[in-house]
Amino acid sequence: MSFERTQEKLKILADAAKYDVSCSSSGSKRNNKNKGLGDATGMGICHSYTEDGRCVSLLKILLTNYCIFDCAYCVTRKSNDIKRAAFQVQEVVDLTINFYRRNYIEGLFLSSGIFKSADYTMERLVSVAKKLRLEENFNGYIHLKSIPGASDELMKEAGLYADRLSVNIEIPTKEGLALLAPEKKREDFIKPMVKVKNEIIQYKSEKNIIKSTPKFAPAGQSTQMIIGASGESDQQIMWTSNYFYKKFNLKRVYYSGYIPISYDTRLPQIGTDVPMLRENRLYQTDWLMRFYGFDVEEILNNENQNLDLDVDPKLGWALRNLDQFPVNVNNADKRMLARVPGLGMKSVYKIIEARRFRKLNWEHIQRLGVALNRAKYFLECGTREFERRDLTAIQLKSLILQNSNSKYRTALGPQLNLFG
């Protein structure tokens, strides 16, 4: 391959792909085969981090940034005046293999602008993955984008070579989509998702009978939503997310704070801040749903349509449900311990293990490395020492905020002063 041309294309097509936030490289079960290259069995590895603090795990590029669509929120939209480029299939294969051999990456994340038609584009993506697997005996991680509207046959073939497939629904509400991407229909996003879901179910049942059934997208499916581009509420975002988790067995939903890239009047203007704090709160809620046993309705409902920005969603929930506290460290069940603000699942595990040996007091808990600055108001050890006393939710909140140092303090300035 010609070095200068590849260099130019890489700059353009990496830059265009960076708004896709998924970087996961875990959850696959692909062993090294016949002493080939690569292994995707373990947990994912972040090989580096960009200066914005996001992990670099996969070579994340577009096959091309030519696109027939004109979605307002997208940097590669047809009407945008930018440099365009397209990789050849072999170029992507060579870059992937050579980056992988140097331990730069876990594998490839390949997306694309839509040129000619959905199927034509999807076919190209599949051929990269196929070449990597069959010709290069590559067993690293491959994440392919499902192109909205791609045919079932192509989606089936994609799943045979890729570890993960994803299609971004981008805009959380139907109305928002109609406004910002009038050429796209929700059904087009859903169609490949349904196909992949059904194939995964079928693979699992066939696998039980015939062990050698070829793998199908072993790391599952994911999707992404843009936050703050179409005026949606946190409730709309998380209920949509919950729907997709349940209905399509998604592994992950990603939330991407909208980065202003256009003077289009339908969108936040260039210069507007990226809603990073909001994005963070949404991820926290996502975690509460997936790992902490919360129902989305407990956190976001018609009374609370948006998350608090000044406190995390678990603390927000606890302050609205003070009657469920304090929780006793020595006999509360796992579910309830997981609901204590400030306790992560690792602390919950350590408490449960340690209390089998002796009754725990405050000193023990501290020695375990459990962070108590928030948790102490919601826990008791069976002694008379209990921090909350008879404080109200508002007093408690202000006490906690006074004694905590949020990394978002500057962003929160005015709100904090209310309680400070």
């Binding site: 070095f3 590849t6 260099q7 890489l10 700059k11 990496a14 830059d15 792909a17 960076k18 708004y19 062993n31 090294n32 002493k35 080939g36 290259l37 690569g38 292994d39 373990g42 590895i45 972040c46 090989h47 580096s48 981090y49 960009t50 200066e51 914005d52 603090g53 996001r54 992990c55 670099v56 070579l59 994340k60 870059l95 050579n98 980056f99 051999r101 140097r102 331990n103 730069y104 005996n137 980065i259 990226v274 990073m276 350590k350 293990e353 340690a354 089998r356 040996f357 002796r358 725990l360 023990h364 020695r367 375990l368 490395g369 990394k407």
Partner: protein, 261 residues
């Protein structure tokens, strides 16, 4: 023979050597004991010293006996903590092992016990360093088609990362060399062996020069640096987070952090 005063056991620094010491503590019924590796030993007036020779049979007996007393996780924590090279670690590990043998039920999750906690904390930092090395090793293709990486990890993690790299890079020859401990691991397409070598005096481990590395290597490093810069989103800049994930002491050998070639 029963020795009443404090005895210092001196060993060669290997894990087998350490386990041999543990064997002798039980075998000789030593009540007051300190275990120290030879490289750290300083003569003291007030204790008697005993030099222990590594004995793989004795070491195996201790390790097998521990099987019954510890979970897999507990055993691997023990080994990880040993590789942390903390100056006091042998004594924490000894007390940990004594506690395990004395107790009827497994103790490896008794985190309120000071030795169990200490061992699990050190094991955790070693595990973190292992994971970092799996991430931060950067191979460079040498003139003789060998993928070569240099590292200076905080702990002695080469024994822990061997398997990871062996199963991943099964079709290329590679070397990962620990410059601070002056030894490396070499995969020759069949097995992984431990090696040490003297670098030529004009070899600078940080620089990728054409004298030692293939011309293709320089091109791919450039492409990687370009990729690294293109994938950054300036409007989300967060250097604090960046440095938290990639602490500066690791930058030395990261290709993406090198000046443009």
């Amino acid at each position: 023979m029963i020795i009443r005063e404090e005895t210092t056991l001196i060993y060669d620094g290997t894990f087998d050597g350490f386990l041999t010491c543990v064997f002798e503590v039980f075998n000789l019924k030593l009540p007051q004991v300190k275990i120290i590796r030879k490289s750290r030993f300083q003569e003291s007036l007030f204790s008697s010293n005993l030099e222990i020779t590594s004995d793989s049979q004795k070491a195996d007996r201790v390790w097998t006996a521990l099987q019954k007393k510890l979970s897999e996780k507990g055993k691997s924590r023990l080994y990880y903590a040993f590789l942390g090279e903390n100056p006091q670690i042998e004594n924490h590990l000894l007390e940990y092992i004594q506690y395990a043998f004395k107790s009827k039920s497994p103790i490896d999750c008794d985190f309120t016990n000071k030795n169990v906690l200490k061992v699990s904390q050190i094991a955790k930092s070693v595990g973190r360093e292992k994971h970092r090395m799996e991430a931060f090793v950067r191979f460079r293709l040498s003139k003789d088609q060998l993928y070569f990486a240099t590292i200076e990890p905080d702990f002695n993690v080469l024994p822990l990362i061997t398997k990871h790299f062996e199963s991943r890079y099964a079709d290329q020859k590679w070397i990962i060399y620990d410059l601070s401990r002056n030894y490396g691991i070499f995969y020759n397409l069949e097995t992984v062996d431990t090696i040490t070598f003297d670098f030529p005096s004009d070899f600078d481990p940080i620089k990728t020069t054409e004298a030692f590395f293939s011309s293709e290597e320089i091109e791919f490093q450039t492409l990687w640096q370009d990729y690294f810069n293109s994938t950054n989103i300036p409007s989300r800049k967060n250097l604090e987070l960046h440095v938290q994930h990639v602490p500066k002491r690791y930058w030395k050998y990261l290709s993406e952090k090198q000046p443009k070639l």
